[in-house]
């Protein structure tokens, strides 16, 4: 008899590898009407090693932004822990938290509206330094100049012009400069390229890689497009309705997806090749169910073609399917492996 557990487990965490960030059993709830709750994030766990980029991917409304905001404690999660280095952020007082805040920054999806429209761009980038009281005027000036230069924004122009005078791509560069200015260890990028066209998207993805090398950053990169996520991530976590359904090394997730939802996300990516036939029968049907009263058992069962009776009753637990590659599914696309054998084994599809 399987006892349904509250979450899908934490077997995919890597405590022995000294993660920079560990998120454990993160739950974010919002009040809804008639005393119900929106369960935006449910018992989510993942970790990030220093210098790693984790891609967080899933449909709109699956809880990606709520996760990012809970990590920076704006607002703090309903329950669960967020550990940065040795510091457990959810346990801190307001003052202690403020001391930690320069170590964490966030970049938002809508580049133009996330910047203060009344200030010039130089001041916007300098602001975090002033808020946290870092450096004197001269040092701040030097640091802002360095960061603007690094992202390719003209420094003199930045002193004179306000955000609306810049294009969406330029505003995203400004957001990146503002995020790196306090020398953070971790940056959460919440769909930084979703509102941009393909050319600007390519520029920004390249820029993020470069900033990561230059400033020694660790990144959480949120997106809904798996092709974008694959390009930038070392490790990918696929989210569905507040939970992680698959996590693993980028390459493994793409060459050997184990979760039916991951496969559906892959099938949805438009292929820039007219000889590849678009097959609408591969496309996921329906919308994300409501996070108020989410489906029981596996939350994906209402849209999953492989669903059986057990899926609607029992929540699947994270199980290894390859080296560092875990899936929470009763009928995964590749066979689970014993943890002891997982290192170095090649995984073959079941059917």
């Amino acid at each position: 008899m399987v006892i349904p557990m509250a979450g899908s487990g934490t077997s995919h965490l890597r405590p022995s590898e000294k993660p920079l960030l560990t998120v454990e059993n993160l739950t974010v709830e919002f009040p809804a009407r008639r005393r119900k709750v929106v369960s935006a994030v449910s018992n989510l766990s993942f970790d990030l090693l220093p210098g790693e980029t984790l891609g967080l991917v899933g449909e709109s409304g699956c809880g990606k932004s709520s996760t990012g905001k809970a990590i920076i404690q704006l607002p703090p999660p309903t329950s669960g822990t967020v550990t940065l280095g040795n510091t457990e952020l959810t346990a801190l007082s307001g003052k202690e938290l403020r001391q930690q805040r320069t170590r964490l920054q966030m970049i938002f999806q809508d580049p133009i509206s996330s910047l203060n429209p009344r200030k010039n761009v130089f001041d916007i980038v300098e602001e975090p330094l002033r808020i946290w009281n870092l450096g004197d005027a001269e040092e701040r000036d030097r640091r802002v100049t360095e960061c603007l230069h690094a992202v390719g924004v003209d420094v003199d122009g930045a002193r004179e012009r306000k955000p609306h005078e810049f294009s969406g791509g330029q505003c995203q560069r400004i957001s990146i400069a503002r995020a790196v200015v306090t020398e953070p260890e971790l940056i959460i990028c919440d769909e930084p390229v979703s509102a941009l066209d393909v050319l600007v998207q390519a520029q920004i993805l390249n820029l993020l890689e470069e900033m990561k090398q230059r400033f020694g950053l660790t990144l959480v990169f949120v997106a809904h497009d798996l092709a974008v996520v694959k390009n930038i991530s070392d490790r990918v976590a696929v989210m569905y309705l507040g939970k992680i359904c698959e996590i693993g090394p980028s390459e493994a997730i793409f060459s050997n997806p184990a979760h039916p939802y991951t496969e559906a996300l892959l099938n949805a990516i438009p292929v820039p090749d007219p000889s590849v036939q678009v097959d609408s029968s591969d496309h996921l049907r329906g919308d994300l169910p409501s996070p108020i009263d989410p489906p029981a058992g596996c939350r994906f069962h209402t849209r999953c073609e492989r669903a059986t009776d057990v899926c609607s009753r029992v929540e699947p637990q994270m199980a290894p399917v390859g080296n560092g590659h875990y899936v929470a599914c009763h009928h995964p696309l590749i066979t689970p492996v014993e943890i002891s054998r997982s290192v170095g084994t090649t995984v073959t599809p079941t059917d």
């Binding site: 993805l205 092709a227 438009p270």
Partner: protein, 366 residues
């Protein structure tokens, strides 16, 4: 769906549904005339899809709005011809256009919220236009609207009839917008980035839906996007726009198999590929499209083009057909397969290899 046997020229015995000839749109502005669209010609048959592709600011929306007659008459001036079913509609009055909208041509926009009335129930938004344009009575309009909602795959359409737009998800809203647009059976649907605001799974659903509806109704469609991936499997032919002009156009397969314009190549190679390993540096041309006030004499792409030579900034290349192929047009002095461009490409590749061997990824793409 694209297929080899799709005729690209005019079908025997039928004229083109839409024939745009030498269309230009200018806006008055304090800085001078903004030449948003310049000398665009294109044609479209019934049942066909034309993809219009270009980055932000290349003039795709202004072109679509010009064809639809949706521009402010006070600041926009339009020259050229828009021949729809044999009749030039470019000189139509607002009243004449109003008769056209919905029944002959309809448009869907990127942001579904702007197209819907936020304080009107979605069912009513459809029945209104059915009653106005098709003269239906209340009951017939209601039943037709429910059927339409069903056909755009709104679950439980009779129940959803009475909800407001904000009660629906982004994907559902766009489906309602499509239902409104299709209500009066237009012959031409202009879809201006209908999926850019949506995530990939919903994008795939909406594009499937548009394709099914188009096939069922034998409707012509113009699909505007910045992503060549979106039109690759869905358009019969593609026109690439830059700085208000069509710079390359061809049947879809031909365009992908044999692209001539450096700009088309740049749009293509910026797309992250699923078959490339993580951390592959994307090829990203630098800069943004030019301001469209007082354009210089040369090729508008010259400041960003890796293959540009002196001639490019002196003389604007004319749109001309590929040898022996009147269907494939391009405007470039040194197309990507010319000896001059291949030489530069080899040179750039060698430089890149040297840079990579030296271990420092250089910062181009800014």
């Amino acid at each position: 769906m694209t297929s080899e046997e799709t005729p690209v020229g005019t079908l025997p015995g039928t004229g083109a549904l839409l024939d745009v000839r030498d269309l230009s749109t200018r806006f008055d502005s304090p800085r001078g005339a903004v030449r948003a669209v310049s000398n665009v010609s294109l044609s479209l048959e019934r049942g066909q899809t034309l993809g219009i592709v270009g980055e932000s600011g290349s003039g795709k929306s202004v072109l679509s709005r010009t064809i639809m007659g949706l521009l402010p008459r006070s600041t926009a001036s339009v020259t050229g011809e828009i021949i729809f079913e044999g009749e030039d509609i470019s000189g139509f009055s607002d009243d004449q256009y109003r008769q056209f909208w919905g029944t002959e041509m309809a448009m869907i926009f990127q942001d579904p919220m702007t197209a819907l009335n936020p304080v009107m129930k979605i069912g009513k938004q459809i029945t209104e236009s059915l009653r106005r344009h098709m003269g239906m009575d209340r009951t017939t309009a209601h039943d037709t609207a429910v059927e339409l909602l069903r056909s755009v795959r709104i679950p439980e359409p009779a129940k959803r009839f009475d909800v407001y737009p904000h009660q629906l998800s982004g994907g559902m809203r766009q489906r309602v917008v499509i239902a409104v647009a299709l209500a009066c059976g237009p012959r031409l649907l202009l879809a201006d980035e209908p999926t850019t605001a949506l995530d990939v799974t919903i994008q795939a659903q909406i594009l499937d839906l548009l394709e099914d509806q188009q096939r069922e109704r034998y409707m012509a469609m113009i699909l505007v996007t910045h992503d060549l991936g979106v039109v690759a499997g869905r358009a019969h032919k593609i026109a690439v726009m830059y700085a208000g002009r069509i710079v390359e156009s061809a049947p879809t397969r031909k365009l992908f198999a044999d692209m001539k314009m450096p700009y088309t190549e740049a749009l293509m190679s910026a797309i992250p590929r699923l078959d490339a390993p993580p951390h592959t540096k994307l090829s990203a041309i630098r800069g943004r499209p030019p301001q469209l006030v007082n354009p210089g004499p040369g090729c508008a792409f010259a400041p960003r083009c890796p293959y540009a030579r002196d001639l490019c900034s002196e003389e604007r290349p004319v749109l001309r057909p590929v040898e022996d192929d009147p269907d494939h047009l391009f405007a470039c002095h040194y197309p990507v397969d010319s000896a001059e461009s291949i030489e530069i490409k080899d040179h750039l590749r060698a430089e890149q290899m040297v840079a990579e061997a030296a271990g420092g990824g250089d910062s181009d793409g800014w």
